[in-house]
Amino acid sequence: MMPTEVALAIILLPFLSFAIISFIIRPFFNNRPQISGYVTIASIGTSLILSLWALVEVVKAPGHVLTMPDYLWLAIGDTSIHIGVTVDALAAVMLIVVTLVSLLVQIYSQGYMHGDPGYSRYFAFMSLFTGSMLGLVLADNLVFLYLFWEGVGLCSYLLIGFWFHKPEAARAATKAFLVTRLGDFGFLAAILLLYANTGTFDIGELHELALVGTLGGAVLTWAAIGIFSGAVGKSAQFPLHTWLPDAMEGPTPVSALIHAATMVAAGVYLVARMFPMFASSTEAITTVAIIGGFTAIFAATIALVMNDIKRVLAYSTISQLGYMMLGLGAVGVAVASGALDLEHGLMLGVAVGIFHLFNHAFFKALLFLGAGSVNHATGTFDMRLMGGLRKAMPWTYATFLIASLSIAGIWPLAGFWSKEGILAESFHSVPILFALVLITVFLTAFYMFRVVFMTFCGEYRGQSQDSHGLHESPMVMIGPMVLLAILAVVSGWLPISEFLGGESHSFFGALASPMSWASLVLAGLGIFLAYAIYSKKWISAESLRRAFAPIYTLFSRKYWVDELYENFFVMRILIDGLFAAFHRFDDRVIDGLVNGVAGGTVAAGRHIRRVQTGQLQLYGMAIFVGILAIVAVFFIFG
């Protein structure tokens, strides 16, 4: 039986490495920064081993849950907050994903960040991020979870703004932080609301209360929506998605780890963790489904017209996260409407969502690392300046192609299995969203292969002399990419969904269902179209662009959402409206009050001074008037 200390160790090791790097290496051994790299990789590696041990324990454990005693963290008055760790199937899977991807990214980063002045600072932040991600996954009560939730947000800020001397990076970091904070506000409100009503932060107790029904009705709905808003903020769903494309300013491994696999998935994990609550309130779960579905197609359309590889990948991530939310939402709707029995339905929903998250983590990380190595070679991310890299970078091309196929959802690869699961579930419960998502399958395939063909096929369109300057990335970068490629293929076959409680599917049986055939056809169509436009150039992209000019501008301007937020919300409402009002209020009322009092006293002084005329008789009269007043008072009041 695994002792609790081990679980806590998984969390603390990365923190330990962070401490070592920032307190010892950075100040003293700054001339040899590689050490911080090795320390980080060592700590995360041990965490990976421990998580594997935990996975084995969970598989053996009855009901797949390891219950751990929790410690009292702090007690104020009658409220007491306990720190506890729950390792159940969901947590175990997430542990594996986080530690594995993080390890690979750290190895990759050694090559990518080589020679960067902030090298040890980079690794310090990376270990801090991994530690808080692990903490988030293992936390068993909301406050503890919220603590790491904020830690993760902080690290994303630090890493996006890693090259803080670049103004866009700094601005992107702040934007990311602020937008996620907006979501976190909802999440905090939800936690407090729950605590106010139930008096506990423990997730387990909350689930029982939700299922039993004591916690229900408006309170539950609002709490769920609050938690979902946190998820929307962190996983860049529709209203709060604008920060993710800008977050690409950070180093590419950061994007790979944080903005592809782990942090953005935290939102989906949160919804999965709180799934019983969501499932017991129909309004909340339908919101989740709708937001998920819409975001999927919305992001996909924008990805079509992006010219920067990382922007395309960013939008594709948003779209895939939309898929996961839709997966969870669809099953939740079914459970809420009673189509599925409660106990089985909960497990199924989590399985569907998390299985896609699991697969997506690997191939999306791979895609980002591929983009990173392309940038490493060409020095730019703009696809229009690339082309014909197939010959120069064969390994990168191969891994990139596998990942694209997997994300498009081609049969044997991982993408197909999890996406097919989501499609099946959404078909049953939310048919409208199913249609949207179906289109998205086609779009996903199209924009992924647009990227593949623009960067790797055709001639090199870059400025630097001729193609011979290009060279394959070093082994330390290619290694993790190959590993990820293998995982991208294999992860589909692993019995994750059964482990998580979903239904299993046979290897070849899947082909039997018409659903899978529809998605495969759509995917193939998408690939062929991309091949036609960008590789063979049978249809020139230009003519298409002119034909669908209005739609093209709509997509390329990202539905003017950024403008809407920046100009309208921030400038008009916040700055000109609210803050201006605050300014005016402060200026006129408060300053006015203070100055008014001063001015008033001075004026009063000036007037009262006139009473002192130096006329004795006036003073005498005042005395007698006073006496009269007193007597009058006595008379009146008896």
Partner: protein
């Protein structure tokens, strides 16, 4: 005897009020001063009606004999007499305050019922001396302090007015 007192009271009251008004209203200061003396004299008469004979004597001696003369001296020494006795800016408000005060006082006087003792007091001098100088409840200390006060006032006045 009773009628005599009543008549005397009304006559004296009329004279007092007339004299007081004259003091306040007359243009010529000297006339005002004379009427003031007349007023003091009639107040002494009132004291007699109230059978406080020692006080009547004292009143005449102090007010008419000393204060009246002093005021007339002051009038002589300050050549303001040409400008007479103008009234200042506060004429109307002063009138109002005065009237209000009168009304209040009269109201108070009329409204409270005094427990009047009807007995006629016998000659006052011995009992007054008793009150002033007797050891137990006498005002000896107050009397001495009054003496010192007068001394201080006199010396002060002399110092103030002495030609340098």
């Amino acid at each position: 005897m009773e009628i005599g007192i009543t008549i005397a009271f009304w006559v004296l009251a009329a004279v007092i009020i007339g004299a007081a008004l004259a003091v306040v209203l007359l243009r010529n200061i000297f006339h005002a001063a004379i009427f003031l003396v007349l007023c003091f004299f009639t107040v002494a008469g009132i004291f007699i009606i109230l059978s406080a004979d020692f006080l009547a004597g004292a009143q005449v001696l102090i007010y008419v004999g000393a204060i009246g003369v002093l005021i007339i001296f002051a009038i002589m020494l300050t050549r303001e007499t040409q400008r007479g006795n103008p009234s200042g800016r506060l004429r109307l408000p002063a009138l109002i305050v005065g009237l209000l005060f009168l009304i209040t006082m009269v109201a108070v006087v009329v409204s409270t019922n005094w427990n009047v003792v009807a007995e006629i007091p016998e000659p006052t001098i011995s009992s007054l001396a008793q009150a002033l100088f007797s050891k137990e409840n006498g005002f000896v200390l107050a009397f001495e302090i009054a003496a010192v006060l007068l001394l201080a006032a006199i010396i002060g006045a002399i110092v103030l007015v002495r030609e340098k």
